[in-house]
Symmetry: C2
Subunit: 229 residues, 2 copies
């Protein structure tokens, strides 16, 4: 059950519309003039921060995609979340990160010092509430994902995933996945073969259309939604 090839490879780009960012997110890292935001770009598979490292910065994805994960000692990996354009990640109430974050593709992030956020929170209750709301949002996602990992079938997991990606990055009713089948598998608690087979099956059933493995158009969202149940 050792895991599969989390190795490096050539770079791609252009993923993610720059910062659609739902209003909720945009505010935190822009509303306060005293918060200095720096931009930085990471190459594909580059580490942004590692598990256990002190959490110095909070990040927002400007362009690209990020995976946050934890490892078991034998290399099995569980990706807890994908962070796409507009998403904020790396926000901790504690002094150190509990997951590793890596760029999936070439990714630009905006970062602000955690300390300065905390300072802002101390003087402005609205900021403090904002931080709380953001962590609560992550918790909600984690709760949904626990149900998926603990109790859903492979088909249900893939259906959930497709609907999530459709919601988060579809533009003209279709989307490009920035992540590999292996990433998806490690997000869904499956193997890459099972993910591939399930996507193929959905394709055969006419539930989705493919243009290359990464470009997907959902043709029957209601069918996916009801099988997800």
């Amino acid at each position: 059950m050792l895991n599969q090839s989390h190795a490096a490879a050539p770079v791609r780009q252009y993923w993610g519309q720059s910062l659609p960012g739902d209003a909720a997110n945009s505010t935190l890292l822009s509303g306060h003039p005293e918060l200095i935001a720096t931009e930085f770009t990471y190459g594909r598979d580059e580490c942004i921060f590692g598990e256990g490292e002190p959490s110095e910065y909070v990040y927002q994805v400007v362009r690209g995609a990020v995976r946050s994960y934890r490892l078991l000692s034998d290399g099995r990996r569980q990706i807890g979340a994908f962070h796409l354009a507009g998403d904020i990640f790396g926000l901790e109430s504690e002094p150190s990160h509990r997951l590793t974050a890596e760029a999936i593709v070439e990714t630009t992030v905006r970062m602000v010092k955690r300390r300065s956020l905390e300072t802002a929170a101390k003087s402005d209750v609205a900021v403090a509430c904002k931080l709380w709301a953001m962590t609560a949002g992550e918790l909600r996602h984690a709760e949904d994902h626990m149900l998926l990992l603990g109790r859903k079938t492979a088909a249900q997991r893939v259906a959930s995933f497709l609907l999530e990606m459709d919601r988060r990055l579809a533009v003209t009713g279709q989307f490009n996945l920035p992540m590999t089948r292996c990433d998806i598998a490690d997000y869904l608690g499956l193997t890459l073969e099972t993910v591939s087979r399930t996507v193929s099956q959905f394709h055969d059933e006419g539930v989705l259309a493919l243009a290359g493995a990464r470009h997907i158009r959902l043709r029957d969202r209601s069918r996916l939604a009801e099988m997800d149940a």
Copy 2:
């Protein structure tokens, strides 16, 4: 894969030392005089609040044990957390509960109005930070649990569970489980049979001692810890 008997039955009691409550928790619901706390006792298997209900109160377990869970349409259940004496639960940043909470055994809770907490948070940044820290703590647990549900073997899941319960409710190096094998299974993403078999196996290996199915003494914590890895 339909689930097993979440039915009602006679009442038991005496679970949980009354409020050992780590300092972190005790403060929130006691430090502020303007927060009026009411006590209430729920019978075994009684619902405290349901998924989707407006989140009017925040709760702290005084005595007993609570399970929080979500259901799939066909009845499969995923328990996200057990709340034991001292734990706070039902704290939401949003207006409604996202999981159902039920008393596992006869359980006394202390409850304060969510609105009054929010009011306190608005005037006192320390309270706001406290709320954030508590939600962050739940998120940390959820992240650990995602790794367990997505990637650990049955034996590793049960080992994790035993170590968690040992940490949270052991008194003289031993503890009484308030929950059934079915609850444990729905927490670990397994079936009750697999949980039972795994506990029996640990018993045969001398890793733990049993006095009835619910009373457990861990005899080799380091072995459990290393198999959990």
